[in-house]
Subunit: 222 residues, 2 copies
DNA sequence: CATCAAATTTAGATGAGACGAATTTTTTTT
DNA sequence: AAAAAAAATTCGTCTCATCTAAATTTGATG
C-alpha cells in the first residue's frame, strides 16, 4: 500500500491527462504551468518527484507522459469530478456554470464506497452537465461521436452535445441565448470573412455565434 | 478578506471546540496533541500561529480558548460534518459506523451555497446519525435535553437519543444488539458491584450493558 | 517550601510545495 | 551555421506543518 497522493499531485496527474487529450501525447512544462497557474520552475520540481514515484515518464526537456498507474489515478479523479457535477446540478439544483469550482474540491474526497454509491444514487450517468463523458468504474469512457460546431456546413441541423469551455462566463452566455445540451439548431449561413455562424433554433429565432464560440460547442448531426 | 484557513487549522479549531465541550473551558496542549494524534511541540507551534491570526486566545502554559471568530469557524465545520453524515446515511445508505471518516474529509469543502443547498436537500435536519445536534446557519444548536444512560435508575423507561462515541467498533456493537436512535429500553436492574445494567427492550429481550457502554449512550425518560 | 515529575515550550531539522533569478538547452530566425 | 528567442531547468530561499531532544515552567508531594 503506497502512501496516498497529495491533492497537489492528484491535480498534476489530472491536468496532464487533460492536456494530453486522453492520448499518450507528451505535455509541456509551460502548458502545465499555465493550466495550473504556477511558476514553471515549480512544475519542473513536481515532475521530478512524480517521475520518481512512477506516475509519469519524465525526461528533461522532453515533456511528460502518464504511466499506466498515473493514468488510472487521473481518470478516477475525473470520474469523481464529473459525478459530483451531476450531483450538484441534478440534486442540489446548481446551474451548470456554478459546479466546476466546487467539483474541483469534491474530486479529491477519498472513498471508494462513496464514489460507487454516488454513481448509483445518480442512476449511473454517462455524461456530466457540460456533456463530458464520465468514465466507468474500470476507467472506460462511454462511446460518443461528436464534433465541433465549426465542423458542420450550411444547411446542417445539429444537436448540442457538450461544451469545450467550462468557464462561468461562457456557460452563462450560452444560457442567456437559451442554448443548452439537447438544443437543436440549423446552420443558416456561415459568414466567410470571420467564419461566424448564423443559426436558427427550434422557435425560429436567429442566433449569431462567433467562430471562437462555435469552437467551444460540440454537436452531432440530427 | 483574509486568506482561508488550511485544513489543518480548521481541524485544530474544531478539536478545541469539541474538547472545551462547546463552552469556554481552556483546553490543554496535551489533550489536543492526543486527540489530533500529533507531538505536543507541534501543537504549541500551531497554537502560536492561530493566536497571532486571532482565532484563539493563547497564553503560554495556560491552555487555549477560542475567540468568537475561531468559535464560529469551528461550529461551521461541525455543521458541515454532521450534514454530510446525514447525507451519507439517508441518501447513500451508509451505515452509522461508516460515515465519520468520510465526513472528516467532506467537512472541509468550502462553498456556502453547497452547505445551504445540502441542508435543504436533507430537509433541514436537526440531528446527525449519531444523535448529535446540527447547528443552524447562525451557529445555534437545537435545544435538547438528554442524559447519559448511567444517570437513570432501576425501573426507568428511556429512549435512546444519541451516542458519545463515534468509533466504528462501538457503533457496530450497538447495531448488533439492535440498539439504535429511538430504541426504547426499561432498566431492570443495576448491578451494584460493577454498575452494569440489565435492560429490557420493546420485544422483551434482555440486554446487558457495561457501565462504560452506558456512559456512551444518551437517553431521555420516555 | 524545596524537590521532583509532568506538562509545556524552545531549538534545531526535515520534507513538501511554492517562488524568482540565473543558467542551460532547444528551437526559430536570420 | 550563427545569433536570438523561447522553453526548461537549476539554485537558493521561503512558509507550513511536522518531528525529536533539550530546556523551562508548573504544580504536586513530602
Ligand atoms: Mn468541471
Ligand atoms: Mn464538467
Ligand atoms: Mn462524525
Ligand atoms: Mn456524528
Amino acid at each position: 500500500m503506497s502512501k496516498p497522493l497529495s491533492l497537489t499531485e492528484e491535480n498534476y496527474l489530472k491536468t496532464i491527462f487533460s492536456l494530453s487529450d486522453g492520448q499518450d501525447n507528451a505535455v509541456n512544462t509551460s502548458a502545465l504551468a499555465k493550466q495550473i497557474n504556477i511558476a514553471s520552475s515549480s512544475v519542473t520540481d513536481m515532475l521530478k518527484r512524480l517521475g520518481e514515484k512512477g506516475y509519469i515518464h519524465y525526461e528533461k526537456y522532453q515533456g511528460v507522459r502518464l504511466t499506466d498507474s498515473g493514468r488510472s489515478i487521473a481518470i478516477n479523479i475525473i470520474r469523481k469530478h464529473r459525478l459530483w457535477e451531476v450531483f450538484l446540478v441534478d440534486k442540489l439544483h446548481f446551474s451548470w456554470d456554478e459546479v466546476h469550482e466546487v467539483a474541483e474540491q469534491l474530486e479529491h474526497i477519498r472513498s471508494k464506497k462513496l464514489t460507487t454509491r454516488l454513481y448509483e444514487f445518480l442512476n449511473k450517468p454517462k455524461f456530466d452537465p457540460h456533456g463530458d463523458p464520465i468514465p466507468d468504474e474500470n476507467g472506460n469512457f462511454p462511446d460518443m461521436e461528436r464534433n465541433m460546431l465549426t465542423d458542420f456546413n450550411e444547411g446542417d441541423t445539429v444537436t448540442i452535445l457538450g461544451v469545450n469551455d467550462d468557464s462561468p462566463d461562457f456557460l452563462k452566455y450560452l444560457e442567456q441565448l437559451n442554448l443548452k445540451l439537447g438544443s437543436i439548431l440549423t446552420i443558416n449561413t456561415i459568414l466567410s470573412h470571420d467564419r461566424s455562424m448564423e443559426l436558427r433554433n427550434q422557435h425560429n429565432k436567429t442566433i449569431m455565434l462567433s467562430y471562437i464560440s462555435c469552437q467551444h460547442i460540440f454537436c452531432k448531426k440530427s
